[in-house]
């Protein structure tokens, strides 16, 4: 994940910064509880394509 891009990406729903989850290759927003996929190296920042985080995932770290 490109750092220069990550620096200016926020969750389109909460507008909070997202963090990159290396294992799942997703961009995570704990505020909205959504995980955005990265497909073919392109972040898919669409609410309709996002996965809802499980409670465990939300509380992690």
């Amino acid at each position: 994940m490109d750092k220069k891009l990550l620096d200016i990406l926020v969750c389109p729903v909460s507008k909070a910064p997202v963090e990159w989850n290396k294992e799942t290759n997703e961009l995570i927003c704990r505020t909205s509880g959504l995980a955005y996929p990265i497909r073919d190296d392109i972040p898919v920042m669409l609410e309709t394509e996002a996965r809802t985080l499980t409670t465990d995932e939300r509380l992690e770290k």
């Binding site: 220069k4 389109p12 910064p17 392109i42 609410e47 394509e49």
Partner: protein, 253 residues
């Protein structure tokens, strides 16, 4: 503008009335279908004039070295390519499009031309941009706003992520101002254009949608009003090719 809800939960898809939540998918189908032939079709349909419209947009952008630029509905990267050269290594251009087929064609095309390093690609909806407030010096949306379901939301979202003093530029088909030109243009759009689409891209319907969606798009004054409504100032427009296309600009106060 009646962009939001014409009656109940309907909006327009070309001349057709569709449910609000269907428009996005229907537009997506159009662009998945035309992505690979998009560039050659633009040249054919406009006789190459779209290059002049885009060049004028770049010239008036005021973009220079070190700037951050967002190219919404950037598609196959025509504007991004030019911005990438202007902003240099210390600048950044983000090409955003809601359609992954268009993004991939754009990325391949830019890579083929050796344009890398200061360009990023993001799949995003113009109505809910995934960037912090006050991020970009310039935001462009060229031939894209027409296809957005909620245009007011998109303009507000652009104003939010624009830096104070930054510029929004909307390049879009508009209303012709000469009756004779309008007649010729209508004849061309509704008779010849879908045929060219069928012949080259094997898709008559998508190009019929193109012609219809142009007629449904708000005219110059209406769009200017919508930009002011979104909180932009110094909003103005410039007609090109007799108003077939207009370039609207606005500044974030």
């Amino acid at each position: 503008m009646t962009d939001q809800k014409d009656s109940q939960d309907k909006t327009h898809f070309g001349f057709e009335q569709v449910k609000v939540d269907e428009k996005q998918d229907k537009v997506a189908d159009v662009f998945h279908s035309v992505a690979s032939k998009y560039d050659i079709m633009n040249d054919l349909m406009s006789g190459g004039v779209h290059r002049i419209w885009k060049r004028l947009t770049i010239e008036q952008s005021g973009v220079r070295r070190g700037h951050k630029v967002l190219d919404i509905a950037g598609g196959t990267g025509d504007l991004t390519m030019r911005f990438s050269r202007l902003v240099g290594a210390e600048g950044q251009v983000v090409l955003a499009d809601i359609n992954d087929s268009m993004l991939k064609v754009g990325r391949d095309r830019l890579m083929d031309r050796g344009i890398t390093g200061n360009v990023e690609f993001v799949q995003a909806n113009a109505e809910a941009l995934p960037f912090p407030d006050n991020t970009f010096d310039c935001i462009t949306i060229a031939f894209g706003l027409r296809n957005v379901t909620f245009k007011e939301k998109a303009l507000a979202s652009m104003a939010r992520v624009l830096k104070p003093g930054g510029k929004v530029m909307v390049l879009e088909f508009s209303k012709t101002n000469n009756p004779l030109l309008t007649k010729a243009y209508d004849l061309y759009s509704f008779s010849l254009l879908p045929k060219i689409g069928k012949l080259i891209a094997g898709d008559e319907e998508s190009y019929r949608y193109l012609a219809e969606s142009i007629r449904m798009h708000p005219d110059q004054e209406t769009l200017k009003g919508m930009m002011e409504e979104a909180g932009l100032s110094q909003c103005k427009y410039q007609n090109m090719t007799g108003g077939i296309v207009a370039l609207h600009t606005g500044i974030k106060p």
